[in-house]
Amino acid sequence: MSVMRDAVAIELKNLSVTYRGGEGGRTVHAVRDCSFSVARGDVLGIVGESGSGKSSVLMAIPRLLPASALVTGGIFCDGTEISSLDERGMGVWRWRRIALVPQSAMNSFTPHITIERHITEVLEHHMRTPRRDARERAEELLWTVRLDGSAGARYPHELSGGQKQRAALATALACGPDFLLADEPTTALDVITQKEVLDMTVSLVRERGMGLLLVTHDLPLAAGICDSLVVMREGAIVESGPSQQVASNPENDYTKLLIGAIRDMERPRGLEETPARKTRG
């Protein structure tokens, strides 16, 4: 389904995620039997409405789902079955090979730690970079995402939403990972910043030949950026293939609906959401 450009790939085989004891002790099947793969250099979009299980798929890869989640099936990275590793074993894969740009960067930085320290911390831990070099590297990275030098010395609450999201991107790139997982990386931002950050993310990923998994509810947007798409509904994949094909010639009714719905919803939603979100930042 995706064009193989590199041997290094993340592969999901029959992945299912079940949440035990949710509200009222019900079990929720968030992801059912999903299989797909993404290679280095690929940009893959996972599209679906909220509750479709797209975020669960993404968070299952670095094994960051809550303890109540039961994951079955295999997740392979570079031939290793990372789904059977323990927390310590995952430490090598997380960030060094697979980095994450979270859904809302608002709350993804530890409040009492400066932006620069977030970056140097991972450099020191994963790359054994000496403190001084790490600081230089952090400054470089922040510059790459077009944050000026003073941003590094700031605390998370002193940055705006867009700045934080870019800082999150810089942190993700710190160890030169093979893959970047991005979970609705721009939903908390206003429309203009959204576009800017997303373009920056994709161009940096392409520049470095990394693989990108982008989770979003916005099918037309994903179609514009991604090489291929996976459409999910109620935990299952309903359609997948090259972006052009999925967007212009959807086979599945749900995909058609999704394209239509978003076309109808796009403008009013943008107007409605932006001011409310802004006040949080």
Partner: protein, 322 residues
């Protein structure tokens, strides 16, 4: 900075009010202070002489001036029981109290901290149940009852520890003296630790449960940082400001509680000094002990504010809370 200066100003004001209250509390009671401590059969001349000794024959304003001078110089005047300066008596008592409270504080804080964090990490485990139980116990069991039970078990039934006192009589010499001292304060220390750690552990557990659920802790894990680093540098460090505050604000209560602990175990400390002074209507002595406790409270409140500023960058950068 200005906010901090304001806090310092408010603290000084509070201390001033306490000083004034302290002065008048002892003088508004029915009759003069002398009637309660002096044998009524004393001759008027003897009474007058005693009154002169404590300056009670001077006009109120002059008494107040002397009182303020004595308080601020930490001499605290003469004890009505012994006639010696109150400070001299306090000097022999305070070290005993510190020797009991300091290790108790260190141990119960260490225990409360580690158990609180552990309970938050292992929800539903035995550790968490212990923390929840000890928290409830520390809020609803009187400390002296628990201490009396300990005394009954270890002092009477099993006779492992002494029933009373700070040292054996006669006190042993040389290195044995230290052992003897440790043997005497072991049980009070133990009781303070088991009654002290529960509240802190419960508080830390509640904060940690919340903190561990934050996005930034998940992200710290996503960055592949080691477990200890995620728990302590990210999750725990972010709840440090309220933990420090609650710790500092609880200090005066812990010190006041020494009155009860020292009474139960008949230890010769500053707490019992306050009790003895109150019981024998030794107003300068009681006033001094009271003033020192109030001073401690005010200083702790101020330190709590200060810590918040130092430890929480959000407050530090903006110069005020919020």
């Amino acid at each position: 900075m200005i906010a901090l200066l304001k806090r310092v100003g408010a603290s000084v004001l509070v201390l001033g009010v306490v000083l004034v209250l302290n002065f008048f509390l002892f003088r508004i009671m029915p009759g003069d202070p002398l009637t309660s401590i002096v044998d009524p059969r004393f001759s008027p001349e003897a009474k007058a002489q005693l009154a002169a000794q404590w300056g009670l024959d001077r006009p109120m304003s002059e008494q107040f001036a002397v009182y303020i001078r004595e308080m601020l110089s930490f001499r605290f005047g003469l004890s009505m029981m012994t006639g010696a300066p109150v400070w001299d008596e306090l000097k022999t008592r305070v070290p005993n109290t510190v020797a009991l409270l300091l290790p108790a504080l260190i141990l119960s804080t260490a225990l409360g901290l580690s158990l609180g964090v552990k309970a938050a990490l292992a929800r539903g485990s035995i550790v968490e149940r212990v923390v929840l139980l000890s928290g409830a116990v520390s809020f609803s069991f009187p400390s002296f009852f628990v201490q009396l039970i300990l005394l009954l078990c270890f002092g009477y039934v099993w006779q492992v520890f002494p029933l009373r006192g700070t040292t054996s009589i006669p006190p042993p010499e040389g290195p044995l003296a230290i052992l003897d001292y440790v043997w005497h304060i072991a049980m009070p220390l133990f009781s303070l630790v088991i009654m002290g750690f529960g509240g802190l552990a419960l508080y830390i557990r509640n904060l940690m449960v919340k903190s561990l659920g934050e996005d930034y802790v998940l992200m710290a894990r996503a960055r592949g940082l080691p477990h200890g680093r995620v728990v302590w540098n990210h999750a725990f460090r972010s709840i440090l400001p309220p933990v420090l505050t609650i710790f500092l604000l609880s200090l005066p209560g812990v010190v006041s509680g020494a009155v009860i602990t020292e009474t139960v175990f008949s230890l010769n400390g500053a707490g019992r000094f306050l009790l003895e002074a109150t019981n024998s209507h030794d107003y300068p002595a009681a006033g001094a002990a009271f003033f020192l406790l109030a001073l401690l409270t005010v200083v702790c409140n101020l330190l709590a504010d200060l810590c918040y500023v130092i430890v929480d960058p959000r407050v530090r950068r903006e110069g005020s809370r919020g």
